[in-house]
Symmetry: C2
Subunit: 253 residues, 2 copies
DNA sequence: ATATACTGTGTATGCAATATACTGTTTATA
DNA sequence: TATAAACAGTATATTGCATACACAGTATAT
């Protein structure tokens, strides 16, 4: 009955698992961790992660700055909880006969969606392997898509890493595109578009022989064309990942 | 001869391209941007990105805090320059007959190496598509590995995104592993190892049916085994990416 | 009943980024 | 060559932040 392992967890992580003992005496609490995290997320959604300060969050709930520290021991822990909260994603329950490719596609699609909805998510660093509950739920879902595949644990983990890192990158770019559109860019003018002209001057053929043609054609800054919608572009990489997995599975047989 | 595009660049980006005009009059400068960035990187390498403050950097060079602002307009810009400096990577010059798979492997290997060397790199968010000179050099190199392949620009960009995002994720995990080892973890005890025991209690079979077995076997927290070195594990995902590309190339023929 | 563990608050500290004003220096130009 | 303009590094001040600490009031275990 050793509970040593609880103490070894970082405070914020312990909080995320609900491992911090509820107080028995004293006045009733007027807030909750969930409430605080929700308030912080609301602020971040509207004004960016930089607008999230302990003061700001507390004020938005009608309390003083220091009251938050009765619930969450530090701002870093608050950010951790925000991160984990975003990982509470609406994955469809796994249906029986679903193909693994469809499952992984769904996984990436939902992940990207969450990152677009919470644009600040990509601004928080990934500190290491997920160890918070919702984040692990995401990993569990991803693993679930590969349940029937003849792969060992290490292979599966490696593929989860592959898919999730791709989702993150795509999520960041998608977010930037939506930001640019929302900021009033003409529809069809995208992400790096503000810099397209500058890059055409700076990315010289001599110094960037391989990149140069892509900048000139507009492919680099993701200008939309008839044959190449951004969405298709992103799907392309995902399909290559899936192809790679499929190829490996076939080779194993 | 319109130079409008220069003004439209963010200040830090303009700096990274050396577009800011050198002063003509006044006293000789006693520092340089390069010097400042190097000093900041040295601090970050030793004590982490949190230790990098304008005051700290200036003091390490023997100047006052405010003197830095004569060179770099804001701390964010300094971080941007640090990021770009790390992207000055020692890619081997492209040899003629090299196979594209070897090229992409090299690309990922060097990228991961840079992230391990500068552990803080993964703590800086990716703000969007690369637009600084060294970062673009990295992109150029990655594109160069695919020079001979019958792919259009969008396909190539998508694959660069795929490879670089994988490199970043692996780099972060590798860094964590090295950190843990350096922090005195027994060799063979890795990344999430401090939390392994906790996760064994928390990741229940009911709630995490797919993840549970991996946590129990130690595969999730990357415990090393005879058949599965961490290095091999990381290589695995990369080979699947390469397989996916190869599969696609063959299908096109 | 009362000591204890808690609540939210008010105040204080220290650090960080950065604006602004200052003194002294170099150079273009009148 | 004189001198004004543009710059260098500095000193000081402002603002906002995270957070420690002490307080007054409140619920509960003993």
């Amino acid at each position: 009955m050793d509970r040593d392992w609880e103490e070894r967890l970082p405070r914020g992580v312990a909080l995320s698992w609900g491992l911090v003992k509820q107080p028995q005496r004293g006045p009733k609490r007027e807030m909750s961790i969930e409430q605080i995290v929700d308030a912080a997320i609301a602020i971040a959604d509207q004004e960016g992660i930089a607008a999230v300060s302990m003061n700001r969050v507390a004020a938005s709930l009608g309390f003083t700055t220091m009251s938050l520290y009765r619930y969450i021991p530090s701002k870093d822990d608050l950010l951790l909880l925000m991160q984990d909260a975003v990982c509470d994603m609406p994955f469809a329950p796994v249906t029986e006969g679903r193909h693994w490719r469809d499952g992984l596609r769904e996984y990436v699609r939902i992940s990207v969606g969450a990152m677009v909805k919470h644009a600040w998510y990509g601004d928080l660093p990934i500190s290491g392997v997920p160890i918070t509950p919702n984040n692990l739920q995401v990993v569990d879902y991803a693993l679930g898509t590969m349940r029937e595949l003849p792969l060992n644990d290490y292979e599966k983990m490696s593929l989860v890493l592959l898919a999730s890192s791709y989702a993150r990158s795509v999520g960041i770019i998608q977010r930037d595109i939506e930001r640019a559109i929302r900021a009033g860019a003409s529809p069809g003018a995208f992400s790096g578009m503000d810099y397209t002209e500058a890059l055409r001057h700076l990315v010289t053929e001599e110094r960037y022989p391989n990149l140069h043609p892509l900048v000139m054609s507009g492919a680099y800054t993701e200008e939309n064309t008839e044959e190449n919608t951004v969405g298709n572009d992103f799907d392309f990489g995902l399909e290559r990942i899936l192809d790679g997995i499929e190829f490996y599975l076939n080779a194993k047989k």
